[in-house]
């Protein structure tokens, strides 16, 4: 199966890259943009049951994919 993991900086951590992208979008005329937060996206192919995969993916995020000090993560396993 394929799982999707999103990792983003926690709300209270300053995201200078997101801010720079936000400013560039406004410069381009996208004045409706009020905030950009930049993050990371992982597509992970793995074996096992969906329930096991959820727990294992959470461990992967805690141990490596995200730094829990500064980042939050979100795991989803879309229907194939």
């Amino acid at each position: 199966m394929k799982a999707i993991v999103h990792v983003v900086l926690k709300k209270d951590v300053l995201d200078p890259q997101g801010k720079a992208v936000e400013a560039a979008l406004r410069t381009l005329g996208f004045g409706e943009v009020s905030e950009v937060r930049q993050g990371k996206f992982f597509e992970i192919t793995l074996d096992g049951s969906r329930d096991d995969a959820r727990a294992r993916l959470a461990s992967m995020c805690e141990e490596l994919l995200a730094n829990p000090v500064i980042e939050d993560y979100r795991v989803s396993i879309p229907d194939a």
Binding site: V13, P16, Q17, L65, N67, V69, I70
Partner: protein
């Protein structure tokens, strides 16, 4: 004192720090590859600067899980001193030996210049300097912006574990003197035991006047005596 420098793929200050240790302690360090599973008996382990694993994922994140890091944790538990410089500091936070995290510089630029630092913490690593003394080391980093949650910050400040702060010429930790947006101008912190030390600046780059300064020579010479 016997010292060890861990070399990761992408380390690029390992030789500089090896030269600094050899000159200042009188004994060349052992260089140990990251894939090794044991460390020689030593009084100090150094994680050098550079771009371990190309800074993939997050600076220091992959190196934090290198085989050698298990031995570094064990050595730290036994009381062996551990020094992380720049990327080494990032590895120490990623592997949980020091709290907090080092994120992208607030100005989004790689900063590479000498900075003034105030000695705030009490640790054998700063044995060369008097409390409140101002020293000058260069920085060279893209992810040197130290961040931690409010509770961790209160603990670091309360326990006197903020070891070095970016300051101006008058010794004040101002926003203008802060090259990367670090919380409270933090440039270095220590563990509760004071035996683990992480700093973003590079003392190994100023070990003689021909290199633009000798505060680094004082740093390494005194820490070798203090840790021995």
């Amino acid at each position: 004192m016997r010292t060890v420098v861990v070399v990761f793929p992408g380390s690029n200050c390992d030789r500089d720090v090896a030269v600094a240790l050899a000159r200042c302690t009188g004994r060349a360090p052992d260089l140990v590859w990251h894939g090794a599973t044991s460390l020689p008996a030593c009084g100090l382990v150094v994680l050098p600067g550079g771009f371990s694993y190309g800074d993939y994922l997050r600076a220091g994140a992959i190196a934090a899980h290198s085989p050698i890091m298990r031995s570094v944790h064990e050595a730290a538990e036994r009381g062996t001193a551990v020094l992380g410089i720049c990327n080494g500091f990032q590895i120490l936070t990623e592997t949980g030996l020091l709290p907090g995290a080092l994120v992208r510089n607030a100005g989004l630029r790689f900063v590479c210049r000498p900075v003034d630092l105030r000695v705030d913490g009490d640790t054998p690593f700063l044995a060369a300097f008097a409390p409140g003394e101002r020293v000058r080391f260069p920085v060279a980093h893209m992810e040197g912006n130290y961040q931690a949650d409010a509770e961790t910050m209160a603990r670091l400040e309360g326990d006197g574990r903020v070891a070095l702060r970016y300051v101006d010429e008058a010794g004040r930790a101002t926003e203008a003197a802060n090259p990367n947006g670090s919380a409270a101008g933090i440039a270095a912190i220590t563990s509760n035991s004071r035996r683990i030390f992480g700093l973003m600046p590079h003392p190994e780059r100023v070990i003689g006047d021909e290199l633009g300064g000798s505060d680094g020579r004082r740093f390494f010479t005194a820490l070798a005596d203090a840790l021995a």
